[in-house]
């Protein structure tokens, strides 16, 4: 017998499986099973879409909120009197507004004197039914400090502030049923009639003023005979020095009992809202991750079934010269393609949801690239992990076993 033992495989020829062929075989296999391919990719699609949409929407709404905060300014500070125990309806000293105005970085300071008098639409209604509308005497620069404006009529001027004229906050006007200011409509504040000369836009950073009827200091003193000790001072600071101004406001406004003065920054509430939104974002992201996990298990499941169903194909390919690695590569590439498809569809769907929803909310559309790429990468990674076990199983199958019919 003649026999040559061989040291190298070159003479015999080696098996090769080109990358382009791996891709083509994978596409072919998935293409033959379109419905199943679609169904098994759907889990990944939903998971990725959820994550992309959640991230996109939270970014978009955040961008919107940030824009709102930006527009309102973070340099408005509010000084409020009497939060201490037993302080009652405490007020700040009369000169506190001018004291605060003298702090260097303070651009403007406006005092608000809360009045006890009820605001009524006429003298026939029950004086106890105030509808939550409060009268307040304010300085004329309040509108500038709060960066607001009137939507009807006009704001108080030096002349009108001295007489029984009133400007209504938006909510107060609505509750009193007053929509325009041309017909000399009057309201009753305490025992005095005041003419409505203006209606204000809403104050996003000082919502209590929306429910107020605002009159001038002079009118308050003249017609209602009240002390002009402000209960609140709105302070507009140099934006760069807000943090420096904030700690000294209390002592400046009320040197006798600075500890009873409360200084707050209204825009902080919006910031807190943004933070709360991101807490929800984490929750939804978690849900998206669960969907993704389920999607991954779905792919693993489908691939395990495919390996069992395609036993003969595996046997045939081994007989035609595929190595174990080639078989593994083939099934792994199919799992990757499935998750690739699912991921791409998910990123598309998630982006679409973000764009459509953000548009309906009039938000600026923000699609964070890290969400798009991250979502896509997560999908592919899940495909790789999900495909690993079925691919190993396929590769381990003995050719003789796989060829059994």
């Amino acid at each position: 017998m003649r026999r040559r033992s061989i040291a190298s495989g070159d003479e015999l020829g080696t098996s090769r499986f080109r990358i382009s062929d791996v891709a083509r075989v994978g596409v072919g296999s998935l293409g033959d099973r379109k419905i199943r391919t679609a169904l098994s990719a759907i889990g990944i699609t939903i998971g990725i879409a959820a994550m992309v949409a959640v991230l996109g929407l939270s970014e978009s709404s955040r961008a919107d909120l940030d824009a709102e905060i930006e527009a309102l300014g973070t340099n408005l500070l509010t000084i409020q009197a009497g939060s201490g125990f037993g302080a009652g309806d405490a007020t700040l000293p009369e000169e506190s507004v001018s004291m605060v105005s003298r702090i260097g970085p303070v651009q403007s300071a406006s005092g608000i004197v809360t009045l006890d008098e009820a605001v009524l639409v006429n003298d026939l209604v029950n004086p106890l039914e105030t509808q939550g509308i409060q009268a307040a005497a304010v300085t004329l620069d309040l509108l500038d400090t709060l960066n607001s404006e009137v939507v009807r009529g006009s704001w108080l001027t030096d002349a009108t502030a001295a007489w029984p004229n009133v400007v209504l906050g938006s909510v107060a006007a609505q509750r009193l049923g007053i929509a325009n200011v041309d017909n000399g409509q009057r309201v009753l504040i305490g025992d005095e009639w005041f003419t409505v000369i203006g209606i204000l836009d809403t104050f996003p950073l000082a919502a209590d003023l929306d429910r107020s009827a605002l009159i001038g200091y002079e009118a308050a003193a003249t017609f209602l005979d009240v002390d002009l000790n402000p209960s609140t001072i709105q302070v507009l600071s140099d934006p760069a020095r807000v943090e420096a101004v904030r700690p000294i406001l209390g002592a400046t406004a009320d040197p006798e009992s600075p500890e009873e003065v409360e200084v707050s920054r209204p825009s902080d509430a919006l910031e807190a809202r943004a933070a709360a939104d991101s807490a929800f974002t984490s929750l939804f992201l978690g849900l998206g991750a669960v969907a993704l996990l389920v999607g991954g298990i779905g792919i693993a499941n489908v691939m395990v079934i495919a390996v069992m169903e395609r036993r003969n194909e595996i046997g045939l390919r081994r007989a035609l010269g595929a190595t174990r690695a080639h078989i593994r590569r083939q099934f792994l590439s199919e799992a990757l393609m499935l998750s690739f498809l699912g991921g791409a569809a998910g990123v598309g769907l998630g982006s679409l949801v973000t764009v459509v929803y953000a548009r309906t909310q009039d938000w600026k559309v923000v699609l964070p690239p890290e969400a798009l790429f991250g979502g896509f990468a997560a999908a592919v990674l899940i495909g790789a992990v999900a495909g690993l076990y079925p691919a190993m199983r396929a590769a381990k199958m003995a050719p003789t076993e796989a060829l059994r019919s």
Partner: protein, 237 residues
């Protein structure tokens, strides 16, 4: 027979195959045979005789417990799984009873799959597949899918796939087992034709009548060769 200078297409030396168990099952009890280039051999035996196991050994789909297998002069029984795959992709062609064509793939692509693992570029694989299909008389069915073909045509496609890479040896496992007698005859004619053109072909079958038409028959029973008959048949070259 072929010249002495050339190595035989296939050489089995004392092949023993045992499957583990209590007691171990001895499927092949020491089989030796030589198939020269250009032979057409029938391996005949009833089911359970060990002929499928023998086919697996010859096709390097499984390893013998002991003994040596040489294909075209290369001893292969000690090669790694990866190297054996290389041997199969270049030196061996298979025809199966169940055809094992891939659905959803055209005839030409099915045949080209026979070259998929050889590293040839796709265009070349398809070119060779087309000429192989023409050779088996299916030049008019290149773009059909397997489910559009008759059983006989499917087996022709499988034969075309088995010879597309011009292997040293073609192993046909019950190639007519799923075909009616007329179609079987045409497939056997095709194998004879390929053999006349120089292909070395082994046909594994339990069908004695079919085997009787082959120039050499190796009878196998209980894992041992019972007889090796040669007949001279008129071969026109």
């Amino acid at each position: 027979m072929t010249g002495l200078a050339q190595a035989p297409a296939l050489e089995l030396d004392e092949i023993v195959k045992e499957y583990p168990g209590h007691p171990p099952v001895r499927a092949l009890g020491g089989v030796s045979m030589v198939v020269e280039k250009g032979e057409l051999v029938g391996i005949v035996g009833p089911s359970g005789s060990g002929k499928s196991t023998l086919l697996h050994m010859m096709g390097t789909l499984d390893r013998p417990t002991s003994g040596a297998v040489s294909i075209a002069g290369h001893e292969v029984s000690s090669l790694s799984d990866r190297r054996l795959s290389g041997v199969r992709s270049h030196l061996i062609g298979f025809v199966f009873q169940d055809f094992f064509l891939l659905d959803g793939m055209s005839t030409i692509d099915n045949v080209a799959t026979g070259l998929l693992y050889t590293g040839l570029p796709r265009a070349e694989r398809r070119r060779r597949a087309a000429s192989s299909l023409i050779r088996v008389g299916l030049g008019h069915r290149l773009l059909h899918e397997p489910n559009q073909l008759s059983g006989g045509e499917r087996q022709r496609v499988a034969v075309a796939r088995a010879v597309v890479h011009q292997p040293a040896i073609v192993l046909a496992d019950e190639p007519t087992g799923n075909l009616d007698s007329r179609t079987s005859e045409t497939i056997m004619d095709l194998l004879r034709e390929l053999n006349n053109d120089g292909s070395t072909i082994l046909v594994i079958t339990h069908d004695r009548e079919l085997a009787a038409s082959l120039p050499r028959r190796v009878h196998i029973r209980d894992g041992l060769i019972q007889g090796d008959e040669h007949h001279t048949v008129a071969v026109e070259i």
